[in-house]
């Protein structure tokens, strides 16, 4: 885990002081809401439908138990006892009072956290593989690169008013667990033919109203030229990205309109110039950061066997536990998707319990996943049963990872001022319809994602089944998409046809899953069957 040094701490402390002053000027009336708006947005403070919402950055989704405990305490002190983990590996609080915001930022700063650049047309919080440092298939840990990116992007003076927001994701495995190609920049750390570490840079992916998969713009980039290369990528975008239409302002539109080759040419030209300026942190800095992500002290004698005599426990192990690179260890994913619950929500007590378990059994480390779940990346297999019992007692042992009940959903019209339709009730109805564990497991891996508007915070384009809430003449209406994926085989879903009512879309999903059950070949997931047989049989069953 990266720990702040005095420089990092001084920067977040300065931010708290600055924002405290700005809030007091707003409360005193010397700043109007219009003047205050860009300032609060730079601190992740949105004015939503019912209250202020504060979005807290969790850099590359990694945090320790002390930080996690603070997130629980903040939920108790300043919210209604809940936090909402998001698809951006962050946490949001939905019931914040403006006058409390400086105190919350001060509490966050006391554990090395902040809300910097969680909003606005700037470089947002970098996301990464949530199994980083633990996955058996990892080529190299992406977190040291992500931390370099965090520092470089923090208060970057040239890129504070880009045409639109800018999101970077980084992975270090062939398996893409971060939807990397659906980001403005997606970086893959890999080994070249000679065994040397290199970076592959994808630019111009995204969801929103124009979903696009990012093309490769640069292969074989030396790792310690990453910052210089991204300076070049961002500068070309800042200068030439469209500013005439907010919906065409993301970098994906620039890359699409001028073409990947022309964008690459412009970046390479800028990159050649930037390399002469000496902007890259030195190898010693990378080494300093990397040392902080060294493996924890795994016990080489940790037993590999798991006692599966408790059937409920065995079910959870099969569904929510992944293989680890160290013998005798495993990766646990805690589902925040109980039947009928709000995807990504956790109570203050649940958040603190997860912190305690990480402290007691998990080398003090937790991750937030873009699927709105929590990961304990390093636990002994021998401790799994004890962990499961503690989770189960707190309603956190739902065995549905990657099943239809493991729904990604945005906050929707229940909270969000941009939404056209509610997402949460749809998610709740689907999870209740498919509540029975045996039925879910029979359906197998099925990633279902719901967005309450075209901005696609719920990643509906990338769901095996996606739902998009729209407003049709003042009535909430739900479009259904099939065939999306955010994994290494990234694809964008196709709309089935006319939309549905809230209950109608749940019925349509059930009919689609029945087509799969009837037609699947041996070993096929829902997505595989869809890709093989195409949309027609699904369409017929849904509308026929």
């Amino acid at each position: 885990m990266y720990l702040y040094d005095t420089h990092d701490q001084a920067m977040v402390d300065a931010r708290v002081a600055e924002f405290t002053d700005q809030v007091s000027r707003r409360l005193a009336g010397t700043l109007s809401e219009e003047q205050f708006r860009p300032l609060r947005l730079k601190n992740g403070l949105y004015l939503q439908l019912h209250a202020y919402m504060l979005r807290v950055a969790i850099p590359y989704g990694t945090l320790d138990s002390r930080q996690m405990r603070m997130l629980g305490d903040i939920a108790d002190r300043y919210d209604r006892g809940y936090g909402h983990f998001t698809t951006r590996q962050n946490i949001q609080y939905n019931w914040i009072k403006l006058e409390d915001a400086p105190a919350i930022l001060a509490d966050l700063a006391s554990v090395g956290m902040h809300a910097i650049q969680t909003s606005g047309n700037c470089i947002r919080n970098t996301t990464a593989d949530h199994f980083a440092g633990a996955a058996p298939d990892e080529v190299e840990d992406p977190r040291p690169y992500a931390e370099l990116l965090r520092q470089w992007s923090t208060f970057h003076p040239e890129f504070d008013y880009l045409p639109r927001k800018f999101k970077v994701a980084i992975i270090g495995s062939e398996t893409d667990r971060a939807a990397m190609k659906l980001h403005d920049i997606g970086i893959q750390v890999y080994k070249d033919a000679g065994g040397q570490t290199a970076l592959r840079i994808h630019v111009g992916g995204g969801m929103g109203r124009t979903p696009m998969i990012a093309p490769v713009i640069r292969d074989n980039l030396p790792p310690l030229q990453m910052i210089s290369y991204l300076e070049a990528c961002l500068r070309v975008y800042n200068r030439h990205g469209r500013r005439d239409n907010k919906y065409k302002a993301r970098i994906k539109i620039l890359v699409h309109e001028i073409g990947a080759d022309e964008y690459r040419r412009q970046v390479e030209e800028e990159f050649a110039h930037i390399l002469t300026l000496g902007l890259e942190p030195p190898p010693a800095e990378f080494a300093r950061i990397k040392a902080q992500f060294a493996d924890p002290a795994f016990d080489p004698a940790a037993p590999d066997a798991i006692d599966r005599s408790d059937p409920d426990f065995a079910l959870w192990v099969d569904q929510n536990v992944h293989a680890h690179k160290a013998p005798g260890y495993a990766i646990v994913t805690i589902s925040l998707k109980p039947v009928g619950g709000i995807p990504g929500d956790a109570s203050a007590d649940q958040i603190r319990l997860m912190a305690d378990i990480a402290r007691d059994h998990g080398f003090d480390e937790l991750r937030v996943t873009h699927a709105q779940n929590i990961v304990l990346p390093h636990v002994k297999k021998a401790d799994l049963h004890a962990i499961w019992q503690r989770l189960d007692a707190a309603g956190l042992a739902t065995a549905n990872l990657d099943l239809i009940g493991d729904i990604i959903a945005c906050p929707g019209l229940d909270y969000c001022s941009l939404a056209n339709a509610r997402s949460i009730p749809v998610a709740q109805k689907i999870s209740e319809r498919f509540a029975e564990t045996g039925r879910q497991r029979d359906l197998g891996e099925l990633k279902l994602k719901i967005s309450g508007c075209i901005n696609a915070c719920g990643h509906h384009h990338a769901g095996h089944i996606g739902i998009l809430g729209v407003d049709r003449k003042g009535v909430e209406n739900y479009q259904l998409l099939l065939g999306g994926s955010e994994a290494a085989d990234t694809s964008i879903g196709t709309i089935t046809g006319p939309g549905f009512s809230e209950d109608g879309v749940v019925d349509a999903i059930e009919r689609a899953t029945n087509v799969y059950l009837d037609q699947r070949a041996q070993g096929e997931r829902f997505l595989d069957t869809y890709r093989r047989i195409g949309m027609a049989p699904f369409k017929e069953a849904i509308y026929g």
């Binding site: 990092d8 520092q151 003076p157 040239e158």
Partner: protein
């Protein structure tokens, strides 16, 4: 025309007429030019030596192209006055300075005191740019 002018440099301000980039070719002896957001700052590189003042227009503070324009000019050695003009906000002043601006002509009133305070907001910086401040990585590794 903005009424406020705050300069962070000691030399006398240019009194030459400020010409738009498009007119620079015709006015070959011009020493002051104004860049609009869509103008290519690199078009000035061949004539940087003859310029004492480059104004960079911010018609709206949300249009950040001027930050890149300024930094490019400094990266290529421009040492004259670089003035941010228009919807220039005190809360952005530390960023303007970090990309090379050393004068401000804001539409809204702004005091020198507020500018100095804004510049002092950050105890250190994470990036090396054109303002001469060492990045935090340089402080760490001497």
């Amino acid at each position: 025309m903005a009424e406020t002018l705050i300069r962070l440099r000691d030399d006398a301000a240019s009194t030459a007429p400020v010409v738009p980039l498009a007119d620079l070719g015709a006015a070959s002896n011009a020493s002051a030019v104004r860049l609009m957001p869509g103008d290519d700052a690199r078009a000035l590189l061949p004539v940087l030596d003859q310029l004492d003042l480059i104004e960079v227009a911010f018609p709206a503070y949300t249009d950040g192209r001027g930050y890149s324009a300024a930094r490019i000019l400094r990266e290529h050695g421009y040492a004259g006055e670089l003035r941010a003009v228009g919807d220039v906000l005190v809360d952005q002043v530390s960023h303007y300075v970090r990309v090379g601006f050393d004068a401000f002509a804001p539409d809204q009133p702004m005091t020198r005191e507020a500018v100095d305070q804004a510049i002092a907001t950050w105890p250190a910086v994470y990036q090396r740019t054109v303002d001469g401040r060492p990045a935090i990585w340089a402080l760490r590794h001497g």
